[in-house]
Amino acid sequence: MHIVIIGNGISGITAARFIRKAADHSITVISAETDHFFSRTALMYIYMGHLTYEQTKPYEDSFWKKNRIDLVNAWVESVDPAAKTVRLSEGASIRYDKLILATGSKPNKFGWPGQDLPGVQGLYSKQDLDNLEANAPDNRTCKRAIIVGGGLIGIELAEMLRTRDIPVTFLVRENSFWSGVLPAGESAMINEHIREHHIDLRLGTNLVEILADDTGRARAVTTDKGETIDCDLVGLTAGVTPNIGFLDGSGIETGKGVLVNRFLETNHADIYAIGDCAEQREPIGNRRPVEAVWYTGRMMGEAVAQTICGNRREYKPGHWFNSAKFLDIEYQTYGWVMSGKNRGPRELHFHWRHPEKKICLTLAYDSKTRQLLGANTFGMRMRHEVFDAWLTEQRSIDAVVRDLRVACFDPEFHRDYHPLITRAFKEHEPVNA
């Protein structure tokens, strides 16, 4: 059996590896992005000079031959489910028995005037990074950068540019950074931290237009506050959408992404979709139908590999978790801590923040049962296994605070904030704003 995988990101490659573990099928991975799998999440470290591109590759180049995974560097132009072929842009076709779509995302563009000008870019692919190296190699070529969109990629891009001393103006539509996801206290702390890093954070500000110079390059932006800000780079980081344009007319059902059931099967037998480009027909718990997250891509890759190798397995993500780093502050989340309007009437929050340092903790719990719903930590590390178990056993917030030390994953000799947290918990007024 010949299995063709389009996309060599974490989803596609995880699928390939687990298929190889379980079976002897021939496997072909097609990607025009890079010859070999690299860690997309590490792209920022290449620009910052922490890592070389080679160091972002989790496997040595000899790995693929040894594991008999064929790599094809090409763009896929279209898919023909009836003939079971994919057509490459050079004209060649590849026949498949099973096809896995793992094509990931592309940066969102909301129809801003000037959004396709040279000097305007997102940050997702290796090509985006190469563009950035050309657009903003140093602070003489790029005298100011504008970043549009207040999420994880936006703050990463801001951090990257600051390591080359490039002035950054960060336009965030919301009144506080990532406030659609983070509760108010946490979001406020990150606002402070962004400004500490000399990033010109403009909250509640929208992009109106990107202006071009004589040569057609982006030279400035205008905002809905009536300002015009000169710049040499505009980073569009207002989220991503599934990268599925090449499927138009193939008969594969799509919504925002490729529609799949819980077994990651599309409307065509023998075609599956995983990772960022897949959209669940039925929502799974509180999760969004399209989840552009590293871990879920990996889990879908594992699940689809089992299904293809004759061990049909549902994609069944456990408790939600995620992590990120905001400049110098590490963030972890387990379970659900809802922000603003998303919060249900019975969800209460215990929020603790260190009096001086940028360290805080939010525990969400049910006002009636006192059951733990989720945890957000900033500047402290928690043990995944422990929180996973606590969420499964529906432990009460009181027991969680009492045993918080068990969940600590900070390095040895770290300062123990547990006494401060316990005291604060005894005195806290439940927040449900």
């Binding site: 974490i10 860690s39 999440t41 590490a42 470290y45 910052m48 000079g49 922490h50 890592l51 070389t52 160091q55 972002t56 590759k57 989790p58 040595e60 190699p137 140093d138 390591t163 080359r164 500490e196 890093h197 590293w294 871990y295 990996r298 889990m299 594992e302 699940a303 061990n311 397995r313 069944k316 993500p317 456990g318 408790h319 978790f321 992590s323 990120a324 780093k325 400049l327 110098d328 590490e330 972890q332 590390r381 928690m382 043990r383 995944h384 296994e385 996973d388 994953f409 900070d410 390095p411 040895e412 000799f413 770290h414 300062r415």
Partner: protein
């Protein structure tokens, strides 16, 4: 400008001035080396060392103090010095040259064996006399500069990692052990008791492979009770102290908290840690080379001790026969224990290697026991000793190990050559409570942990599988945990049960585990 790709990282004015100050200190040392004789050597030496130390500290303050605490490896690969650019090659050649002169041509540094010193060594005479009462040797000069490097760059390291108390405490520890145990105490001991051999108490055999040579053993014995206590401490430190500490804390108690070689690698070598080779090939080479050095040092020490023991035990407590039998029995006991209780923890090639080495050593012992020749193991013991001392003691640990920091990374010697690290590593792998744990399914395979592992361990390969890391080579520096942007790694001492855990499915995917087991 860097030879490596990428934008140059410019220094600011304050950093430039700091570099100027530091280099002016080095310039004084250079002039002395070239034969300029200074009046008031004490003042000039103080000025030189102070300028170097202040230069480094000023530079660090300028680089880190204004920034918020956190990992700042910005531009490491763009800087010529840390990105294998022209400055790196230049520094590498300079350091290598210094080591060659130091080990083989100390007269160029001004060492005069029958008369007053000249040049660089003479500059250090006053300090040496103040400490031990003797004129300086090239080793005193080296020791003083080595200690200076660990102290000054230790401060830099602490500044860089000030958000991490594990790193701060560990660095204070290596700074203390270098200053007190390696530098001051031996000199002062020599002053108090002229008969005692120079003994850095934290240097344990086989790292100090010369500890049981005849002149030292005689020195210990003739120095009375203190000497005898030190000799006994030397033996106990190998057989008792080391295994006990390693059982509880892993080899890190030594390699990254106490050892001088480790101390230099962690402080002065920190800007080069990402240069270590992480390929599978390098890993294979490492395992064979380091264990071969260990076998070599065991044979060599056995031969050296054997060569001065007599046929009966009138002069020392042991006769030749008793000694060889004792070595054979000890090695057999260790080997038998490993094969009986820990063979499953070793991969196939490690088992083959262990058996092969064991057979070789026992074969040589038996050969010698039966033939009773004047030579030991076909060679003269002196030949073995000088070969080891030249190849391993000088070339490997000094010239390559430290001289090539800017090219191969900071722990080449610790990783490929140190027999002490090999012994501790075997202990760590087989019976220690130490491991690096990974945090469920949080790893994003970014590769910072692997890149900044000075021992060339591909940490990411374990972390992305959710596996604990129990590698023999890990020195427990904790940098993988520090640089991880997702808080996935943690150094832990814990129960031995479940220390090596290979999960089929990472946390996050809810699978029916019983069903999964039944399918297998």
């Amino acid at each position: 400008m860097s030879l490596a790709a990428g934008p140059p990282k410019a220094l600011n004015i304050s950093q430039r001035l700091a570099v100027l100050l530091g280099f002016s200190g080095l310039f004084i040392l250079l002039l002395a080396t070239l034969g300029v004789s200074f009046p008031h050597t004490a003042a000039w030496l103080t000025a030189s060392l102070a300028a170097i130390a202040l230069g480094v500290v000023w530079f660090s303050w300028s680089a880190y103090a204004g920034q918020s605490a956190g990992i700042k490896n910005d531009g490491v690969w763009f800087k010529s010095i840390s990105g294998r650019g022209i400055w790196a090659w230049g520094l590498g050649i300079l350091l290598t040259g210094f080591y060659i002169v130091l080990y083989f041509y100390p007269e160029y540094l001004g060492l005069v064996s029958d008369g007053p010193n000249r040049g660089l060594v003479a500059l250090f005479d006053t300090l040496s006399r103040a400490l031990s009462g003797n004129p300086a040797s090239q080793w005193f000069v080296y020791g003083a500069l080595y200690t200076l490097a660990i102290l000054a760059f230790g401060i830099k390291f602490i500044w860089k990692y000030r958000h991490n108390r594990y790193e701060i405490l560990r660095t204070v520890s290596v700074m203390f052990f270098q200053l007190a145990f390696a530098f001051l105490i031996p000199e002062i001991m020599a002053r108090l008791n002229g008969d005692l051999p120079y003994y850095d108490l934290k240097n344990i055999w086989p790292l100090n492979y010369y500890n049981f040579e005849r002149y030292r053993v005689n020195g210990f014995i003739s120095a009375g009770n203190i000497g005898l206590a030190m000799l006994i401490f030397g033996v106990l430190s190998i057989l008792v102290i080391t295994p006990v500490l390693t059982y509880f804390y892993g080899k890190r108690w030594y390699c990254s908290w106490v050892c001088g070689c480790g101390g230099l690698a962690e402080t002065a070598g920190d800007p080069f840690r990402h240069l270590s080779d992480k390929s599978l090939f390098a890993w294979k080479v490492e395992r064979w080379v380091i264990h071969s050095v260990l076998v070599f040092v065991i044979l060599m020490t056995t031969a050296v001790i054997y060569s001065y023991l007599g046929p009966d035990n009138s002069k020392y407590w042991l006769s030749r026969g008793q000694f060889l039998t004792g070595v054979g029995v000890l090695l057999t006991a260790v080997f038998a224990w490993v094969m009986a209780f820990r063979r499953n923890e070793l991969k196939k090639d490690a088992r083959y290697g262990a058996v092969a080495y064991f057979v070789i050593i026992l074969g040589l012992l038996a050969f010698h026991w039966l033939s009773d020749s004047r030579h030991v193991f076909l060679f003269k013991s002196e030949t073995l000793r000088t070969t080891y001392s030249f190849l391993i003691g000088s070339i490997f640990s000094g010239v390559i190990g430290t001289g090539f920091y800017p090219i191969f990374g900071s722990r080449v010697w610790c990783r490929f050559g140190c027999p002490m690290a090999a012994i501790l590593g075997i202990q760590q792998r087989l019976f220690s409570r130490f491991r690096i744990t990974t945090n469920g399914g949080q790893c994003i395979s970014c590769g910072n942990c692997s890149a900044y592992c000075e021992m060339g361990i591909d940490v990411r390969a374990y972390a992305q599988k959710g596996e604990n890391i129990v590698r023999a080579s890990c020195v427990g520096c904790g940098i993988c945990s520090a640089v991880c942007p997702r808080g996935v790694l943690k150094l832990e001492n814990g129960p031995r049960e479940g220390r090596i855990n290979s999960r089929e499915v990472l946390l996050g995917n809810d699978v029916d585990l019983m069903q999964l087991l039944n399918e297998k």
